[in-house]
């Protein structure tokens, strides 16, 4: 009946009629929607800028590492059915990742791959000829633009169309969100942000007392769907769940409880958690985790508030309160004691308490897990911080339900963004709305002033009670220039728009994993992946640092030991050990993993040695910058590695300081004899040595900074980048070196 009323024929016909009446639309609406369309076009255009580096190859690729994981799931869904990674149980295990156990892909969140697979099937159905990887590469730009559209509606609800427009603009150009929604970034943040925004939009509408009950219930259902999509899309859904719990709790404290709140809350969370827990990976355990239990606690509180609202005696109210509180606390204690309560994963705890991260080198080694310093926040947000602060001020002055939510959202997401760089993307929508409210809050009085006639009434001394409307114009002009400086000519970035700098850079593979934006793609990594997929068997095990696991395992089509899934810390410690140990200590553990090849990525800097010659030294963006993590991660497992008999106690290290020391004069690392004897050092330096012996390097008189020793048990098979000109990428040489492990020599060696 409800649906009938909402989607009646009459309503549909009226809807079409209203389309015909668009010509009668007010000028303000035309301007508003034109601006919105323009913002969406800008949003999409900026996000596809990296395509410039993809055009030469004629295909689109994915950015960074994790998107390849999501792509492999999507590919599985497209080829074998949407639920094929999960059903029949135990689901799909990718044998090429995390050899020998394989990676259990049924433990993946489905929102993004499902979205990708469904949309791909739809566009294929309509005859669009596009390969899946290209589709997955372009999808983030489309979803990112869609998120801006949703934020427009959220902002519109919070403060009118102007706030909506500014919010959409800020989100469209937010560097952190831009990075996570630009071409190729097919990762979990996308369903997360879209779910978050849709949830906010619908949940806040559902608790709006001005709406009818049926409308409110529909919005609750929508909010439930959005929340379930978020939970099944990104682990950060804990944030949204607890933010909403906190918000509703604050409403109760502010004595703003309403029956509508109880209904919306119950429908939204009940249905969302019901849908989410149907997924095998989430399961019912999700409900008893520390982060989700407050949902139940608040539900009890809401029920209590509903009971207390009725006309019952004070004595009964006290009894009811005591019973409810006792029951809730008692249930928690009993569940805790019986071990039914699950804990939150370590990385979520580490967001709440960033100091935990420093104790775990595995988490700390990931760049996106860094703590955001004030400088980084300013670098990212620029002068818009001014608008954000004024937005907070204006929002606090008018604490409606929506504004209370916005304030809590802004403050909590700022804390999480400060705790972890990656979570700046969660802060981006809150920042966008608050900054928009700040700008409008500052502009509105001056707009009002401009509409008035000039009044020049003097006050004491030179202060003015009222100023002329030209003054309003001047203020608007100054604010406009401030806005231009915060979006278009950002001083903290040398005047280059921060958004443009973020967007106009090649995807990681096309830049050869270098932080540069060259004229042509850097092909060294692509060449290596082509080589492995064309010349190696998919069952060949290649040992590499975990960063490159997805690349090698998915587009490279070989079997790898570890990747960004980091599901087995012990194996990562062992890989760290393989690279840091001397060759003869590494081989036995490599043999245990059936590794046939080992791969290192080494960047070399070419610098002028004399008028006619150049020297090749270590760069910064390859394994020469990552080996310290290999040392500290394996060093943290020192006792286990010794006990397992891989090395004796005297030879086993604690961290990178056992391999040399930092030269404070030159800023480079001075390897000691232990360091020079490590496998990683030999593999990197030998690749560099071979490069300097290439015709291109000899022709340019490039010499190595020190003569390398050829590894005894690792034979170079293919070194991508070994033939390029020293100056092709501005003096940086990316060398991706693949060595075959020579077990025969090892086992035949006299020692």
């Amino acid at each position: 009946m409800l649906e009938e009323r909402i989607l009646s024929n009459e309503k549909i016909i009226n809807g079409f009629k209203s389309l015909g009446q668009m010509r009668n639309m007010s000028r303000a609406s035309v301007i508003c929607y034109s601006a919105l369309i323009l913002i969406l076009i800008v949003s999409f255009s900026v996000r596809i800028l990296p395509m410039r580096w993809e055009i030469p190859s004629g295909t689109l690729r994915l950015n960074e590492f994790d998107p390849y994981y999501q792509f492999s799931l999507t590919n599985q869904m497209v080829e074998h059915g949407l639920l094929s990674p999960y059903y029949p149980e135990p689901g799909w295990t990718n044998e090429q990742l995390w050899y020998p156990e394989g990676l259990d892909m049924s433990r993946s969140l489905p929102s993004l791959p499902l979205t990708g697979a469904i949309l791909y099937n739809v566009v294929s159905f309509f005859g669009v000829d596009i390969d899946l990887m290209s589709f997955c590469a372009i999808l983030p730009a489309i979803l990112g633009t869609f998120a801006c559209l949703v934020l427009y509606f959220v902002g519109k609800d919070m403060g009118g169309k102007a706030v909506g427009l500014f919010s959409a603009l800020f989100l469209a150009l937010s560097p952190s969100f831009l990075q996570r929604s630009s071409l190729g970034f097919f990762d979990s943040e996308l369903p997360g942000i879209i779910g978050l925004l849709l949830f906010i939009f619908m949940f806040l509408r559902s608790i709006d007392l001005k709406r009818s009950l049926s409308s409110s219930m529909l919005y609750s259902l929508g909010a439930a769907g959005a929340l379930a999509y978020f939970i099944l899309g990104w682990g950060a859904a804990y944030f949204m769940v607890n933010l909403t719990v906190l918000f509703v709790f604050v409403l109760i404290l502010l004595k703003r409880y309403s029956q509508r709140l109880l209904i919306s809350y119950s429908i939204t969370f009940g249905l969302a958690l019901f849908i989410a827990t149907q997924w095998p990976y989430i399961s019912l355990n999700y409900l008893v985790s520390f982060a989700i239990l407050p949902v139940a606690g608040l539900f009890v509180l809401l029920c209590l508030a509903e009971l207390l609202r009725h006309n019952i005696s004070s004595k009964t109210k006290i009894y009811l309160t005591i019973v409810a509180v006792s029951a809730t606390v008692g249930t928690v204690i009993i569940m805790w004691q019986l071990g039914y309560m699950g804990s939150i994963a370590g990385k979520f705890i580490s967001v709440l308490d960033p100091s935990v991260r420093s104790a775990n080198p595995l988490i700390e080694s990931v760049a996106e897990h860094r703590i955001s310093s004030w400088g980084y926040l300013y670098y990212e947000l620029g002068l818009s911080i001014l608008f954000f602060l004024t937005g907070v001020f204006f929002t606090m002055r008018n604490p409606t339900n929506r504004n209370v939510f916005l304030l809590i959202f802004g403050c909590t997401s700022l804390y999480f963004a400060s705790s972890m760089v990656r979570l700046l993307v969660l802060f981006a929508p809150a920042f966008a709305i608050l900054a928009a409210k700040g700008i409008l809050g500052l502009l509105n009085p001056f707009f009002a002033l401009m509409k008035e006639t000039s009044i020049t009434v003097g006050k004491s001394k030179r202060r003015l009670q009222r100023v002329s409307k030209e003054y309003g114009g001047a203020a608007i002009a100054l604010l406009f220039i401030l806005l231009v400086l915060s979006l278009a000519f950002t001083p903290q970035n040398g005047g280059i728009p921060r958004a443009l700098q973020q967007a106009y850079s090649p995807i990681t593979l096309s830049s050869g994993s270098l932080p540069i934006a060259p004229n042509e793609p850097v092909n060294e990594w692509l060449d290596m992946l082509n080589y492995t997929s064309n010349n190696l068997q998919s069952t060949d095990v290649v040992c590499a640092w975990w960063d490159y696991g997805y690349w090698l395992g998915i587009p490279g089509n070989v079997t790898t030991l570890a990747d960004n899934a980091t599901v087995n810390a012990t194996k990562i410690e062992n890989i760290g050990f393989i690279f840091m140990a001397p060759e003869n200590e590494s081989i036995p553990i490599l043999a245990q993993y059936d590794a046939k090849y080992i791969l290192v990525f080494h960047t070399v800097f070419i610098s002028q040695a004399s008028e006619t010659s150049f020297v090749a030294g270590p760069g910064a963006w390859g394994d020469e910058g990552k080996w310290s993590w290999m040392a500290s991660i394996s060093g943290a497992a020192r006792e286990r590695i010794i006990q397992d008999g891989w090395i004796n106690e005297n030879k086993m290290w604690y961290d990178e300081n056992d391999f040399g020391q930092l030269n404070t004069q030159t800023g480079t690392w001075d390897w000691n004899t232990v360091g020079r004897d490590s496998t990683i050092y030999k593999l990197m330096s030998w690749a560099k040595q071979l490069y300097t012996e290439s015709p291109a390097a000899i022709a340019a008189s490039v010499y190595p900074d020190e003569v390398a020793v050829e590894p005894s048990y690792f034979k170079p098979v293919f070194i991508s980048g070994s033939e390029i000109s020293p100056f092709e990428y501005g003096g940086v040489i990316p060398l991706v070196a693949l060595y075959e492990i020579d077990y025969e020599s090892y086992y035949n060696s006299p020692s």
Partner: protein, 286 residues
């Protein structure tokens, strides 16, 4: 176009156009953008000095506009410039500016990180507010900051950053001194922010501190009398000269039991500023 306010120290209190500071702000922004586009001043570690200055001056100007319009509370005015300190802190950290100040007789004081997070915000806050507080006489709020800024420009190799702004400010000062225009809070906050940000960007802390000592003295005097005596500085105008019966500000100190014309007072205070600016230059060159 500009709102008119009475000139308190003229017979008949004629209405004078106020808020000309906005011209300075807009011109300076355009000028600094031009400097940026022409690449006259190199970006330091990829942070643009002209754009950083533009941001700060714009913010100062906007703050002045707000003050003119809604008469900001002193608590807000005192701390608002802290926001503008953010781009300067970022500039200083990224450019690796010196974190020490060499004071005569005291020696080198090393502030380390505190320089960025404590000293820079304090400098911005104090300079902007003290410059704003020394005004009320024709020419006073324009000539004195011009003297300080010219002193800093002479000492800095990046003087090109301020050539345009100082010219337009001197033009405004000329008309202000003649009682034709007022720059308003927009102007006084913007020029205060200009002085503070230029001194920080060009690393001329010591010169700044010495140059603005008369300003600081004036503000201390005003604030102490407000907080301790609950009284405000007030100068009497008899139609020709100024006169005061108390010493609650620099102006009232100079006119204390003395009959001086408005121009005489402005010239005296300007000379004091000149003396301190010369001292600052002398010490900087030592």
């Amino acid at each position: 176009m500009f709102p008119k306010v009475p000139d308190q120290h003229k017979v008949g209190k004629p209405l004078i156009p106020n808020g000309f500071g906005v011209i300075y702000v807009l011109f300076t922004t355009v000028y600094l953008f031009s400097v940026y586009f022409m690449g006259i001043v190199d970006s330091s570690n990829n942070v643009s000095a002209p754009l950083t200055l533009a941001v700060c001056i714009l913010f100062g100007g906007f703050m002045g506009l707000l003050d003119d319009w809604i008469d900001l509370k002193w608590r807000i005015k005192a701390f608002m410039p802290l926001i503008a300190a953010l781009p300067l802190i970022y500039f200083a950290t990224e450019s690796g500016l010196r974190t020490s100040i060499a004071l005569p007789l005291i020696g080198l004081i090393q502030f380390n990180e505190a320089y960025y997070f404590l000293i820079i915000p304090i400098i911005v806050m104090i300079v902007t507010n003290t410059v704003n507080q020394l005004g009320g006489l024709n020419g006073l709020e324009t000539i004195c900051p011009a003297i300080v800024l010219i002193g800093l420009m002479i000492l800095s190799s990046s003087y090109l950053l301020m050539i345009g702004p100082i010219i337009i400010w001197l033009v405004l000062a000329f008309f202000n001194f003649r009682g034709k225009i007022f720059v308003g809070n927009t102007g006084s906050f913007a020029i205060g922010m200009t002085i503070a940000s230029f001194a920080i960007v060009t690393d001329l802390k010591l010169s700044l501190i010495i140059s603005i000592l008369p300003y600081v003295f004036n503000s201390v005097l005003i604030l102490l009398t407000i907080f301790l005596l609950k009284k405000r500085a007030n100068v009497t105008f008899d139609g020709k000269t100024l006169y005061s019966k108390h010493r609650r500000s620099l102006v009232t100190l100079i006119t204390y039991r003395r009959f001086l014309t408005e121009r005489q007072v402005v010239v005296i205070i300007s000379l004091i500023i000149v003396i301190f600016t010369v001292m600052a230059a002398f010490l900087e060159m030592l």
